[in-house]
């Protein structure tokens, strides 16, 4: 491959990388040494993973030209189920083998919940042919309803020590959530790039008919996609309840926009078929840097949300012009 074709293939990633470096510099200028201090870096490292794993959950569905509006609701319900088990069967302070078993079961139950929601989504979309927006809109409302019925609007809290470690602990100085996120990102990258299912996901996103005519079982691939999306939502849920030490029916509602933002910024095409995990990860880092930087500047949360919106539009405008430029080159 020649130099210029390497550039074209990885141009998105390179541009994002440059954007990331500039954002770091910008934040450093505004915030001084506080920004690069270990305290800030560590707190960023704790917040990023849950959004990151949720973004991966969104990304995989967008690759098939779909979308998953129910990831936050799934995560909340999973967290609630896990939290119920944790609070019903053990005392907050306890530890030991039986506690460990219950914790294990709670996590399993939580993951199973979101996987089942994923299965529901997958069946609706693959077998009945409902469009992804409508299917996941419906499941989002339904799951949210279940969450409200179970919790009656209350917060469930009071988990054993060991659970807190998942969201707050350190291994060799690296926050546990980051480790989990890294594993999840690598796993997703392997699935997408190195498995037959992964290749099929991209192909279905670009042209489901030709893919079907090539012998791929679209139904099975789509169901796997939404199962995977559900699984990741569940993993994010475990980290979330651990960090917040509680579970509620409506946590993280603003996360939905951010997962779409991270995916789109990371190069995922809303029309499906294209996108890289590396791009999404870099986009997440940029978002986290901006978020922390703004936080340090005591910028209100709401202004931050507005800034996300502006950034999303600016990113899309830049894409518009670069696409136009690229098209002029090839006509």
């Amino acid at each position: 491959m020649t130099g210029s074709s390497v550039f074209r293939k990885h141009s998105e990633t390179i541009i994002l990388g440059l954007a990331m470096i500039s954002t770091v510099l910008l934040m450093w200028i505004f915030n001084g040494s506080r920004f690069l201090g270990s305290g800030n870096l560590q707190s960023m490292a704790f917040q990023l993973p849950e959004l990151g794993i949720l973004s991966l959950a969104m990304m995989v569905t967008m690759l098939t030209a779909g979308i998953n509006l129910s990831i936050i609701a799934s995560a909340n319900l999973s967290g609630i189920i896990a939290a119920l088990i944790l609070t019903q069967f053990i005392q907050p302070g306890s530890s030991g083998f039986s506690a460990a078993l219950v914790i294990f079961l709670a996590i399993l139950a939580g993951l199973l919940t979101s996987v089942l929601v994923g299965l529901l989504n997958g069946l609706l979309i693959a077998r009945i042919g409902v469009s992804p927006i409508l299917a996941t809109l419906g499941t989002m409302i339904l799951i949210n309803g279940f969450a409200i019925v179970i919790t009656e609007g209350y917060v469930i809290s009071g988990f054993p020590e060991a659970v807190k470690f998942i969201g707050n602990g350190l291994i060799f100085g690296i926050p546990m959530p980051i480790i989990i996120f890294t594993i999840c990102a690598i796993a997703m990258a392997i699935v997408l790039n190195r498995t037959a299912t992964g290749v099929s996901i991209f192909m279905i996103g670009s042209n489901p008919i030709a893919t079907l005519f090539s012998g791929i079982s679209n139904k099975s691939v789509l169901i796997k996609t939404y199962l995977l999306s559900g699984l990741y939502a569940g993993i994010a849920a475990i980290i979330m309840i651990s960090r917040f030490n509680s579970a509620k029916a409506d946590y993280g509602e603003s996360y939905l926009l951010m997962t779409v933002l991270a995916s789109v910024m990371g190069g995922v095409s809303a029309a499906g078929g294209f996108g890289r995990v590396s791009g999404v990860v870099i986009a997440l880092v940029i978002l986290q840097i901006v978020s922390s930087g703004l936080n340090l500047l005591r910028v209100s949360n709401f202004l931050t949300i507005a800034i996300w919106g502006i950034i999303l539009i600016l990113v899309m405008i830049v894409k518009f012009y670069t696409d136009r430029y690229q098209r002029r080159q090839t006509t």
Binding site: L69, L124, I128, G129, V130, S131, I133, L134, A135, L137, G138, T139, M140, I141, L142, I143, N144, G145, F146, I148, V149, E152, G153, E253, S254, L257, V260, L261, V264, A270, S300, F302, L303, T304, I305, A306, I307, W308, G309, I310, L312, I313, M316, I317, F320
Partner: protein, 331 residues
Amino acid sequence: MKKLLARHETYIFLVIVIFSIVITAINPSFLTLENLFDLLKSYSFMGILAIGVLFVLISGGIDISFMATATVAMYVVAIVLTRFGGNILLCFVIAMSIGIVLGMINASIIYFFSIPSIITTIATMNIYYGLLTVLSGGKWIYGLPAWFREFAELRVFSLTNAEGITYGISIITAIWFAVLVLAWFILRYTMLGRGIYAMGGNLASARRVGFNLLHLHLFVYSFMGMLAGIAGMIIALLVQTVAPNQIVGKELDVIAAVVLGGASLAGGIGTLLGTMLGVALIAILGNGLTLMHVPSFWYNVFIGLVILISVSVTAYRRLKREKRMVTVELE
């Protein structure tokens, strides 16, 4: 007859009838004029917004920033009222103008930079809402002038019941009706209406045949914005207080109602009758659950189920119809 059965609206209507029968059987006070007039008043908010969303969906786009727009409009009006005073006409003019301006911003971004409407309106939703919350400090506004409350209680048509209590069709319902008539006229009798359908049916051809796409985009999103402004006023009138976070988060309920009524997310398809039936279905469901003393927690579960069943049935029917499409003239 066959044509009637093929129409989506017929099914929604049947479901409404069935629900109504069940609810009345359990609680006869459902089918009283008093209750129905009350429903018409409280759901005019959703009803007006649904009309705006319908226009956008028919044109082939989607808008989820309308709640944020409504919030901004009603907040600004509330500030003007409490600081400078005014009259009801001024309120509506301000609210509608703000809505139109915010809608035009949406339209311009979508048209000039070819950014998908879902992404644009996710961004502007956050920008409008974020900026408003920051600038307003999140304060609630009470103390609206007395005439404001009196206006809300006006009726265009009154009756008195056995206990001497008057009830009737509220002026708010009349406003909804006026908007409905205006929308019907535009869709059915103006070139603007044909243009909106044409845009949704085949964007490229719409341009070729001579429609001014810029004007159509501007109209559709400003109309949505204007209706959002009116809706913002209505909430303020109904609740008599104004807060930045009152209504944000309920966008998807409105979209669900419009989709239930048969509008297609792909564009080109949708009727006012269907949309109003969709809103009616949601209204009856909500009201019914209350009258049957079902705890409000269950609301979302039911709405979610209704949406999922409805879209599944629609999708499944389409699947079956497409299978039958290709027929060959046999001997």
